[in-house]
C-alpha cells in the first residue's frame, strides 16, 4: 500500500512535468523571433525548427525586409531576404502564458525529485503530489486555450495506461499498451498534419500526447529494469547525493537559461545560493541512499550468517551425536540380546543423518556441486511421484578442480530453491535441471512447465521477500553471478544462474 501511494505521488508529479515538456515543445517557443535595433536592419534570431515558418525557408541570421501587421496575429506577414511567408504563429499571448507556466513546471520537476526521495515516506510524497496537482490545475485553468487543450489531450491519452499501471502491477502489459498508443497517436499526428492542414491544432495535441506517452514508456522501462537503482547502490551514498545535486542544479540553470531571458550570471548566482543550502539536502539524500545500500548489505550479511549457522550445526551434528550413536551401536554389538535397542539407535542415527543432510548435504563439501545437485534431483524425484524430473548434470569428477566453495554453495542453494518453487508453486508436470559445472565457470538452470510467474506476482513477491526469488538473486549477486528468471513457451518458468571466474 505504501509503495502504491508513493507510486501515485511519483507518477502524478511526473505527469505534470511531462505536460510541461509537451507544452514547451509544442507551444513554448514562438515560431519566430526578430531582433529590432535602431541602427541596423531587423534580423531573425530564432525560428522554431520544423514549424511553418521554418518550412518557408526562414532561418536565423536572415535579414527582415518587411513586416506587415494585420488585424489579428494570424494575418501577420513577413518577408525576409530569402523568401516571403503569409503568416507566422508568433502570438505574444502564448509566449506570455508559457512564461507564467514556467515556475509551475519548475515546481513540478522539484516535486518529482522530492517524491522520489520520499519514496520511503509515502505520506510526504502523497501530500506533495496533491499540492502539485492543485497548483497545476490552477495554472491550467488560467492558461490560454492551446495549453489547456494540450493538457486535456495529454490527460485523455495518458489516463488509461496510468490507470492500468496503478491498479494492476503487470507493467509488462502497460508497456505494450503504451507502445501501441504512442504509435497510434504518432500516426494520427502525421496523417492529420499531412492531409488536413486545417486540423493543425488537433495534430499538435496528438503530437503532445505521443511525447507524453514516450516519456511514460521510458519511465516504465527504467522502473522495470531497476538499472538506475542498482547503479546508485554501487555508489557510496554521499557521493551519489553529490552527483545528484550537481546534476539537478546544472539542469535547472540550463533549462531556465534556455527558456527565459534571465541572465545566465544571475542563474549561476542563484545556483550558488542553492548550493549553500546543499549540506542539509546532502545529509538527507546521503542517508536515504546509505539506507538503501545498507539494507542490501544487511540482507547479504544475514544470508551469509544463516548459511554459516546451518553449516556449523550440520558439522556439530555429524561430529558429536552421530558418531556417539554409532559408537554405542558398536558397543551393543558385543552384548547379545540388545538387538532391539541397537535398532532404535539406528533409527535415531537415521534421523540425525536426515537432519544433517537437510541442513547442508555433506556431499556438497566432500564431493562438490554436481553430487549435491544430483542429490537435489534425487530428493525431488523421491518426494514428488507425479512430477517427472529430468536432469542433465555434469558428472561427478573427483579428479577435476572445483569452483570456489561459496560459488558451489550459492549455486546449490539457488537450484535447490528453484526446484522447490517449481514443485510447490508452479503446478508443473515436468522439471528439468541442467548444470554445467567447471572450476572457472558454472551454469545451472531449472525449467518447469508450470503456470509461470506473472510479472506482477514476481515483483510483489520480490518486494515482500517471498518465493525466495529475492534470496536467489541476492545469492547470485554475492558471488558475482548472473541470475535471471524468464517465462518459457508455451508456459512455465526458467531460472538460470551463470558464474564465471574473474580473470
Amino acid at each position: 500500500m505504501k509503495h502504491r501511494l508513493a507510486g501515485v505521488g511519483l507518477l502524478l508529479a511526473a505527469t505534470v512535468a511531462a505536460a510541461y515538456v509537451v507544452a514547451v515543445v509544442g507551444w513554448g517557443q514562438p515560431e519566430i523571433e526578430v531582433r529590432l535595433t535602431n541602427d541596423q536592419p531587423p534580423t531573425v534570431v530564432w525560428v522554431l525548427p520544423g514549424g511553418p515558418v521554418w518550412e518557408r525557408g526562414i532561418r536565423p541570421t536572415q535579414t527582415v525586409t518587411s513586416i506587415a501587421a494585420g488585424t489579428s496575429p494570424a494575418d501577420w506577414a513577413m518577408t525576409t531576404t530569402d523568401g516571403r511567408i503569409e503568416n507566422t504563429a508568433s502570438d505574444p499571448a502564448i509566449q506570455l502564458a508559457m512564461r507564467d507556466w514556467l515556475p509551475v513546471a519548475m515546481l513540478a520537476l522539484i516535486l518529482c525529485l522530492a517524491a522520489w526521495l520520499a519514496i520511503r515516506r509515502p505520506q510526504i510524497a502523497t501530500a506533495l503530489a496533491v499540492l502539485a496537482v492543485a497548483i497545476s490545475a490552477q495554472a491550467l485553468l488560467s492558461a490560454d486555450m492551446p495549453i489547456r487543450s494540450s493538457a486535456a489531450g495529454a490527460a485523455a491519452v495518458t489516463a488509461p495506461p496510468l490507470w492500468l499501471w496503478l491498479w494492476s502491477s503487470r507493467t509488462a502489459r502497460l508497456r505494450v499498451v503504451v507502445s501501441v498508443m504512442a504509435g497510434l497517436v504518432a500516426l494520427v499526428w502525421l496523417t492529420a498534419r499531412a492531409a488536413f492542414p486545417d486540423l493543425y491544432d488537433i495534430a499538435e495535441i496528438a503530437r503532445a500526447a505521443a511525447i507524453i506517452i514516450g516519456l511514460l514508456l521510458v519511465a516504465a522501462v527504467l522502473i522495470e529494469q531497476r538499472g538506475w537503482r542498482q547503479a546508485l547502490l554501487n555508489l557510496e551514498g554521499r557521493r551519489a547525493a553529490d552527483l545528484f545535486a550537481v546534476t539537478a542544479v546544472l539542469t535547472v540553470i540550463v533549462v531556465v537559461a534556455v527558456l527565459t531571458e534571465v541572465p545566465l550570471a544571475a542563474l549561476v548566482l542563484g545556483g550558488g545560493i542553492a548550493l549553500l543550502a546543499y549540506p542539509a539536502v546532502r545529509r538527507r539524500l546521503g542517508s536515504t541512499i546509505d539506507e538503501l545500500v545498507l539494507s542490501e548489505v544487511r540482507g547479504r550479511a544475514s544470508l551469509a550468517a544463516v548459511e554459516d549457522e546451518r553449516g556449523r550445526i550440520a558439522r556439530e551434528l555429524h561430529d558429536a551425536p552421530l558418531q556417539e550413536v554409532a559408537a554405542v551401536i558398536r558397543d551393543l554389538d558385543r552384548h547379545p540380546g540388545t538387538e532391539k535397542e541397537a535398532d532404535m539407535l539406528r533409527q535415531a542415527a537415521s534421523h540425525l543423518r536426515q537432519v544433517t543432510t537437510e541442513l547442508r548435504p555433506p556431499v556438497l563439501d566432500d564431493l562438490g556441486l554436481p553430487a549435491a545437485l544430483q542429490h537435489v534431483v534425487a530428493q525431488a524425484t523421491a518426494g514428488s511421484p507425479g512430477i517427472e524430473i529430468e536432469s542433465d548434470i555434469t558428472p561427478v569428477d573427483l579428479y577435476s578442480g572445483r569452483a570456489p566453495a561459496q560459488v558451489e554453495l550459492a549455486v546449490f542453494r539457488i537450484v535447490q530453491e528453484a526446484v522447490e518453487n517449481a514443485l510447490r508453486h508452479s503446478g508443473a508436470t515436468l522439471i528439468r535441471v541442467v548444470a554445467r559445472v567447471g572450476p572457472t565457470e558454472v551454469e545451472a538452470s531449472v525449467a518447469d512447465d508450470g503456470r509461470g510467474i506473472a510479472a506482477g506476482a514476481a515483483r510483489a513477491a520480490l518486494q515482500a521477500g517471498h518465493l525466495g526469488l529475492a534470496t536467489m538473486a541476492q545469492r547470485a549477486a554475492l558471488i558475482g553471478a548472473e541470475f535471471s528468471t524468464q517465462p518459457t513457451v508455451p508456459h512455465g518458468t526458467l531460472v538460470r544462474v551463470h558464474w564465471q571466474a574473474k580473470r
Partner: protein, 216 residues
C-alpha cells in the same frame, strides 16, 4: 589372517569398529589412524589386506586418501564405513576403486561380512546402498545400456532413443537385443518390467555419463 587398517577420526567410533572387527578371529587390526597423512604412512610401512575407512577424516576425506593411493598404486582392497547413506558417496567411492560401502551403524554381522568379502576382493554394499551405478556394474550394463534402458522405461521408441543419444536406430537395437539375450528376456516390454522391478536405474541417470570420454 586378514590385516585391517582402520582410518577413523572419531576416537569412540574407531575403538568400537576395532572391537567389532576383531570379534572375528580371522581379522587383525594392525593400526587405527585418524588422518589421510597417517593412513598413507601406515599403508606404506605395513602390509594391509583391507582398508576400512571413514569418509570425513581429520585432514581431508577418504576420497583424498584413495586418490593419493591410486596415484602410487598402493591401494589395498577398501571398505568405506560411513555416517551417510547418500548414493553420491557410494558412486564416488566406487569410482575411486573402493570395493565396499557400509554404514557405521550397520549390525556387526554385516560389517564383518563386508570385511571378509572385500578382503577376497568382492563388492560389499549395505542394504539400500546399491546404487544404479553398482547395479549396472553388477549386471554388466554399460552407461550406454543404462541410457537405452532409461529410454525404454520412458516409453520412447528406438528411433527416439537413438536421436537422443546421437546414435543410429540400429545401434540401439543391438544394445536392446544384447540385453534381452543376456537376461533371457523375450521382449523390450519384459526388459522394461524387469528393469523397473529390480530398479536398475535407482537414481537418475545423468545424460552426460554416456558422453563422457573414457578414462575420466
Amino acid at each position: 589372517m586378514t590385516r585391517v587398517l582402520i582410518v577413523e577420526d572419531a576416537e569412540i567410533v574407531a575403538s568400537g569398529l576395532r572391537a567389532t572387527i576383531e570379534q572375528d578371529p580371522a581379522n587383525e587390526v594392525v593400526a587405527v589412524v585418524p588422518s589421510v597423512e597417517l593412513a598413507e604412512e601406515a599403508i606404506r610401512s605395513k602390509r594391509i589386506d583391507v582398508l576400512v575407512c571413514d569418509i570425513r577424516l581429520a585432514d581431508g576425506t577418504a576420497f583424498d586418501l584413495l586418490k593419493r593411493l591410486a596415484g602410487r598404486d598402493l591401494q589395498p582392497p577398501t571398505l568405506i564405513v560411513s555416517s551417510y547413506d547418500l548414493p553420491q558417496y557410494v558412486d564416488a567411492a566406487l569410482q575411486l576403486g573402493a570395493l565396499g560401502y557400509v554404514l557405521k551403524t550397520a549390525p556387526a554381522r554385516e560389517l564383518l561380512a563386508a570385511v571378509t568379502t572385500v578382503a577376497a576382493r568382492g563388492g560389499a554394499y549395505g542394504p539400500g546402498l546399491v546404487t544404479s551405478v553398482i547395479k549396472a556394474k553388477q549386471l554388466g550394463l554399460t552407461p550406454r545400456d543404462r541410457s537405452v534402458v532409461a529410454g525404454i522405461l520412458a516409453g520412447r521408441t528406438n528411433d527416439e532413443i537413438g536421436a537422443e543419444l546421437g546414435v543410429s536406430r540400429k545401434t540401439v537395437e543391438v544394445h536392446v537385443s544384447n540385453m534381452l539375450e543376456r537376461f533371457g528376456l523375450a521382449s523390450r516390454v519384459e526388459l522394461a518390467q524387469r528393469a523397473e522391478h529390480e530398479q536398475w536405474l535407482a537414481s537418475p541417470v545423468s545424460a552426460d555419463e554416456d558422453r563422457r570420454p573414457k578414462g575420466t
